[in-house]
């Protein structure tokens, strides 16, 4: 009875029927590679988990150099299920970044970026960048010696950019070195600036997906079957994938909670064998390949320039792939995409085991 009244109340004020009609009319192409469509929804689901667990942790975390580490120890040891929420947030971040990469590489290999979906690709790349910065800023909030050293290395690396490097480094650090100011700054990024940016870009990304519809790979244009209803068929399949993902994240969070290192000491030397988070390992390993000095120039600066050019090339991939623009096959760009993926995986594995 109350339900019917509520329904009537809504229907008198809003045109719910239009929304229903839209939901009923939405279709998704059906073909051999349709599994890739689910990676985007799965990533969104993980972002939602991150928002919820992050909000819970923010209730107890103290963003101050003196209390940050202690507050995390209190969350983990004194709060009921505190260790689990922190672990869930940590593992959710790992899975989210991994899925953003899988979604991106899938889009790259299926050439879903081709005309007219260039802006979708660009917004996805921006989301990847934001996700990685989310990871770095969140890692630093631990305020332990490893996080401290990792941020010192990362912001120092950014400082090697020609011309703007010094500005970026000082802006990120909030001074000339990593201090409590950096913690305050990273906290602001992590809980306010980046979430806002993610919401805006995700909304734009979803709007573009709605506007253009799902992309069909060129090889599947002639083989595609009858389109599937989004509501409820695809939504139910999405739910199954989300449930499996939730199970995996919860299992990892319960069985392998991340440890907490010693409190950061800005005056102490960096610990030995320090490694960044796994998504930075390929970059870290690439920088290690370059000697300190190349033709009298700073080797690290040259490495940073080369990496930046490679990332920019990936960012602007749809505009370089002229054949895809004309809806033609472009095997050269398929191979380039493949090389990017293999390079990332190989360097990450080498970085992990070295």
């Amino acid at each position: 009875m109350i339900r019917q009244e509520l329904r009537n109340w809504f229907e008198e004020r809003y045109n719910v029927e239009d929304f229903r009609r839209f939901a009923r009319s939405k279709r998704v192409p059906s073909h051999s590679y349709e599994i890739w469509y689910f990676t985007g929804g799965a990533t969104l689901f993980l972002f939602i988990i991150q928002f919820i667990t992050g909000a819970v942790l923010a209730l107890y975390y103290i963003p101050h150099a003196e209390f940050a580490h202690k507050s995390i120890i209190e969350i983990v040891t004194k709060l009921h299920m505190g260790w689990f929420f922190r672990s869930l947030h940590h593992w959710g971040a790992q899975f989210a970044i991994a899925l953003v990469l899988v979604h991106m590489f899938g889009t790259l290999m299926l050439k879903s970026y081709r005309k007219p979906r260039e802006l979708l690709w660009l917004s996805g790349c921006i989301l990847l960048g934001i996700s990685i910065f989310f990871g770095l800023s969140g890692y630093f909030l631990l305020w332990d010696e490893r996080a401290f050293a990792a941020v010192r290395v990362a912001t120092g690396g950014a400082g090697n950019f020609p011309i703007v490097g010094g500005f970026i480094r000082n802006f990120l650090r909030g001074g000339i070195d990593v201090t409590g100011e950096t913690l305050t700054r990273f906290y602001a990024f992590h809980v306010s600036i980046l979430p806002l940016a993610v919401i805006l870009v995700v909304v734009a990304h979803l709007f573009l997906v709605q506007y253009h519809g799902m992309s069909v790979p060129m090889s599947q244009e002639s083989k595609r079957g009858q389109d599937t209803f989004f509501f409820p068929n695809i939504l139910y399949k999405d739910l199954i994938i989300w449930l499996v993902l939730l199970g995996l994240v919860v299992t990892c969070a319960a069985l392998a909670p991340p440890e907490i290192g010693r409190q950061a000491d800005p005056l102490a030397p960096a610990p030995e064998n320090i490694k960044p988070e796994w998504y930075f390992l390929s970059l870290f390993q690439t920088l290690k390949l370059f000697p300190g000095v190349i033709l009298g120039l700073n080797g690290e600066t040259i490495a940073i320039i080369i990496v930046t050019v490679a990332v920019l090339f990936l960012f602007l991939f749809p505009f370089f792939d002229r054949k895809s623009l004309r809806q033609e096959r472009s095997p050269v760009f398929t191979w380039i995409g493949f090389i990017y993926i293999i390079y990332f995986i190989v360097m990450t594995v080498i970085g992990y085991f070295s």
Binding site: R24, V76, P257, G261
Partner: protein, 111 residues
Amino acid sequence: MIAKLILGCFGMVSGIASDIAGGQALEVFPSSPYDRYIVYETLVLFWIGIIGLIAIIRMKLKEIERGQNMGLSSNGWDRGIKVGMPKPYDIGKRDMTSFIEEGLSPVKKQR
């Protein structure tokens, strides 16, 4: 004397060990066997719940797909029939009187 030495050595070793352990990363996973058992047990129950939910969703999905293959939308008989699909039996859209008016029995039509 020997007992004191052993005790002293034990004290030193345990002190150094606890110092090293204190310097190491903080162990987060519950350490007592009972707490660990609770975590494992909860995890098993959680997975049973997830598998159960997946089974229910799959059954529902199959039911919807069966309906769609018969030419019906997921929302029931009154939501229209797919264009171009053969209509195997029109009882859902027409009431009995329309068959009687045409002099047909719904059973005969089915044959």
